[in-house]
Symmetry: C3
Amino acid sequence: MSSILHPDRLFSSHPEERAIARELYAAVATLPIVSPHGHTDPRWFADNAPFANATELLLQPDHYLLRMLYSQGISLDTLGIARSDGSSPDADPAAVWQLFGDHYHLFRGTPTRLWMDHILAEVFAIDARLDSASAADIYVEINRQLATPAFLPRALFERFNIEVLATTESPLDPLAAHQRLAQDPWPGRVITTFRPDPVVDPEYEGFAENIAELARISGVSCDTYAGYLDALRERRAFFKSLGATATDHGHPSAHTADLSPAECARLYHGALAGTLEAHEAEQFRGQLLLEMALMSLDDGLVMQLHPGVYRNHNPQLFARYGRDKGADIPLPGEFVRNLKPLLDRVGNNPDFTLILFTLDETTYARELAPLAGHYPALKLGPAWWFHDSPEGMLRYRHQMTETAGIYNTVGFNDDTRAFLSIPARHDVARRIDCRFLAQLVAEHRLAMDEARTLAHDLAYRLAKTAYKL
Amino acid sequence: MSSILHPDRLFSSHPEERAIARELYAAVATLPIVSPHGHTDPRWFADNAPFANATELLLQPDHYLLRMLYSQGISLDTLGIARSDGSSPDADPAAVWQLFGDHYHLFRGTPTRLWMDHILAEVFAIDARLDSASAADIYVEINRQLATPAFLPRALFERFNIEVLATTESPLDPLAAHQRLAQDPWPGRVITTFRPDPVVDPEYEGFAENIAELARISGVSCDTYAGYLDALRERRAFFKSLGATATDHGHPSAHTADLSPAECARLYHGALAGTLEAHEAEQFRGQLLLEMALMSLDDGLVMQLHPGVYRNHNPQLFARYGRDKGADIPLPGEFVRNLKPLLDRVGNNPDFTLILFTLDETTYARELAPLAGHYPALKLGPAWWFHDSPEGMLRYRHQMTETAGIYNTVGFNDDTRAFLSIPARHDVARRIDCRFLAQLVAEHRLAMDEARTLAHDLAYRLAKTAYKL
Amino acid sequence: MSSILHPDRLFSSHPEERAIARELYAAVATLPIVSPHGHTDPRWFADNAPFANATELLLQPDHYLLRMLYSQGISLDTLGIARSDGSSPDADPAAVWQLFGDHYHLFRGTPTRLWMDHILAEVFAIDARLDSASAADIYVEINRQLATPAFLPRALFERFNIEVLATTESPLDPLAAHQRLAQDPWPGRVITTFRPDPVVDPEYEGFAENIAELARISGVSCDTYAGYLDALRERRAFFKSLGATATDHGHPSAHTADLSPAECARLYHGALAGTLEAHEAEQFRGQLLLEMALMSLDDGLVMQLHPGVYRNHNPQLFARYGRDKGADIPLPGEFVRNLKPLLDRVGNNPDFTLILFTLDETTYARELAPLAGHYPALKLGPAWWFHDSPEGMLRYRHQMTETAGIYNTVGFNDDTRAFLSIPARHDVARRIDCRFLAQLVAEHRLAMDEARTLAHDLAYRLAKTAYKL
């Protein structure tokens, strides 16, 4: 047993609640992992090649780690992060890991700490706290294990008891890894998700080129708006043929629109010509959300919307190192007016599902719970990104449940690039959900048999049902 | 003793706090109910006719129930909800109740569940959880009891120990039921509240016709703005003569205005002609809030403002079934600038009271507590609507108290159409307030004798004082 | 031992957490006070004259007290508050104190109550609750003690174990008291802070006169924008020579700008001429925040920003009694776009520090923690003003820590004019921080040795380091 991971961690420390939480958790702790939304690389599972080393696997791709270290004055060069120009700083991975160990105290009180401790203790069976003194030994030990067959991607996938894992790809992605997986006898279920941002957002880098590529890869001419929609339909069908059950949309806002065919055509050609004003680009994105919803009515793909992020807020960092280095900042959200055009068309349809996420917690009780507690088409995604944390999840449950109930939520998403953290993240979610339910039981707001059912629903069933898995 | 309702429900499960909460609650549990704001039908008490059946009484009028069931794909037709065109779907009330029982699990963790459990256990002494198996028997048992004299409206009013119950009516309402009650020897105190939205909001359905009716019913010509104000004054006096101590205002925002007489006249005639732009309608409503405040200075009626709801967000549902079917969604609130014109005129007057409500919890600590903790005229209404719930009330107390104290709040409002839920709602509020106070005592932030006084104030005295009852 | 102040106050009442909190608190309870930001009067320490009486010392200057009493209908005249015209109402200080005692129940559940109880019990060793019955005796006893040498400002400073106390002054202040302190053998460290609002905000009363005075006092011509900046540089150097390690900026918003030299000059001359539109004044203030940041790069002064207050919301009160009488109301905050021009210039510089405060708690988890958890230059000031309270601090920790960690925060600021409340305020902060850490330990999210380090950091080290003290 790990001395780092206490078996009661994240439960309330108060005996009545803790006892209930323990009982609820015991029944869900080892349920298979359903991961309906995330960003792992399908090539890991298609190739099944060994991971390189602790630094490349656990530190350098993790924007949660990079941002905190950077905020305390540690440069990305020192951390060995590759630059946009293709050059790489000369950083010894072992030295980078040592630097991480030297600064691990920065993560006290953060979910990163919980996840990393879980990875060290549970995945690598390392029973020591990461710090300056232990870093070097831990680095060697992790690398030793990574070189063994038990740490190949497929072996870990199986050990993690993953029932299904969704990755996320652009419509321009040929899905080569997914095609190889489809033809591979390995039984692990790794599916794709249709994420069309590069071809529906006129402000995305290279939009016109992306549309040209969309026409090429789909074999459908995109000379007209109607053709463009047909090309998107074709790609959705292709994604669906490789397991996709969902689409995902990362927009600056939740704005939707329901425009005339003439206006759609005008905006489309303006987007291709690069002549749209900002508000026109917003309208186009909003129209495309509606188009995606209408296509979902036909092909049954579940729709996800992740709005409200100021991407690449730090231009110096972006210029030097590119995206996803920890410089994305949340924005205030608005759903009541933004979603109305879409809801007016498809909100009353119980056969359509739109799963909403937000980084603006003020919308939980004010907008999202009331909307999802009314519209048959709406469901609430779990606490997202910065709020995928113990306190964040508790705020989510406390602010959503009384108006939306549990059954308008969809269980947990790990939403991660960090494959080894998947069990840790699901474990945190299961513990926190059991803790939340334990409080309701201890305060006689819910009966124990109901809590047991809900714990199972939250850990397993709701995600499977909502995402049609 | 009910096996469903635990005597310690909603208290903290931690022994020290629970013991204190029990003691505080014991002293307030059976205090008379003061209900200064709500939406029950005064004809129930004037006519004292028996209620029809469980479905018509408890389910079909309750938008909290309708919205959740609808959100999970259950149509309002299936629930037997009458349509706006006057037709009614062919739905057997017993079958509708069975459907409710089949889906009662949807309400786990919601206040609806607490209220309904309380109604079943306390009002009907039914010691079984509502579910698919029990629904039919419960339906029969409720109906059996409803047919007995002990379940006539007046008998229930007395059994519920209601000291005073305020209903809410339009100035165009002749208050026939209230007039009959005034002449009835039955001692139950049922009073009206003046809610002038239909005659002060230019965007209200039939505004010009409403003003014509206002002139007719008041006997005061509304040809001029001054006459219109006189007609409103006359109706306020009439409402006051039938017990009203308060007005209530349901506006899209808290916007107030202090316009010149010429501008008031211009807007008034534009409102009658139906020619106002949206921002002009907003100005007119804002001016009327000020006029109402000025009239309150004369007639002493306490003023309530319930702003910030997007009414009838779902146009398909609204077209088919009309208002109040669970499709109202909160909007962000703003009070600091919106209330300023009114506060500049009457905010420093301690003889005037404006009670503020919000559905935007972000305004609790940021705007409302600072405003009410300064202006003599302002008081804080309790957690409203979606926030009339255990967690909602706790957030309210935790976010309001440190800046506004307890004595700038006004106790509890049940604000309900659901007569049988009134004891349940007051019981939840009393328990949560005692729980909140128990925490302060257990953490040595407040002495026990002070907590006892505050528990009584919150359960009974503050509402009576603030509403001049 | 006081019967009013319980040794476990503000800790969780649950035994496991309380035991941990006690242990953590015991190690930090008596650490020296580092007060890097506040509003005490340096003349107190330069002159070391006795304080007058309880009413003048503890009640009349405290806007927290005035606002609550005023909100309940007690006029400022009755409280003896001097008017702007120089006249003073005829109010006996003893009678005013009695009135305070009569209404002390209004503060139940507020931090004011905690601070005042602490002052009475700890500073004056009065073991009685303030109320109508005790007020007169308490008044006499406080005054008796204030007349003794042990209650002179310097004696209290030493008794309070204050290591350093920062006051706040305008660039137009000659800092006479600070100069006298610098030449005084008394070892108490009282330093100034550079707060340039009167000379960087075109909407400040008497802006043009203030600039004339800036030129005079600095000896630098302010005829040009460049000269104006030089004059500011000169004053910063003068403040630094008297101990300042920081600047402070109280702006209506966090708006920053990075304008062309021509535009700066145009706005500057418009500001002097009084011809700027509101949005131009905002631009000028925003530009000056950038100029201040750039000067900090040169002189090393830490920069603080306190944005988002609607000052003097009550015009009647302001006209009669002036500023700081409890009529300032928070406004919604925005940092992601507002700070961008400044961050684009200096946000990546780890040698520059900008400490951010907010009165809009919605920005904690949504904007401030993500920004400070990324930019090397940003740090998070503690829960401010209305949120300097037990629940406010807990919300701050729960909403900030998971994204920003602890090491992007800067410990506690008391930010007070109320000298005698300084130990009380630091004690509340230390207790609440220990309570927060105790929860993390009890729930196995943090090890005890780490919590001990963090408790010390939060009580002492972080403030000292962040403010370069």
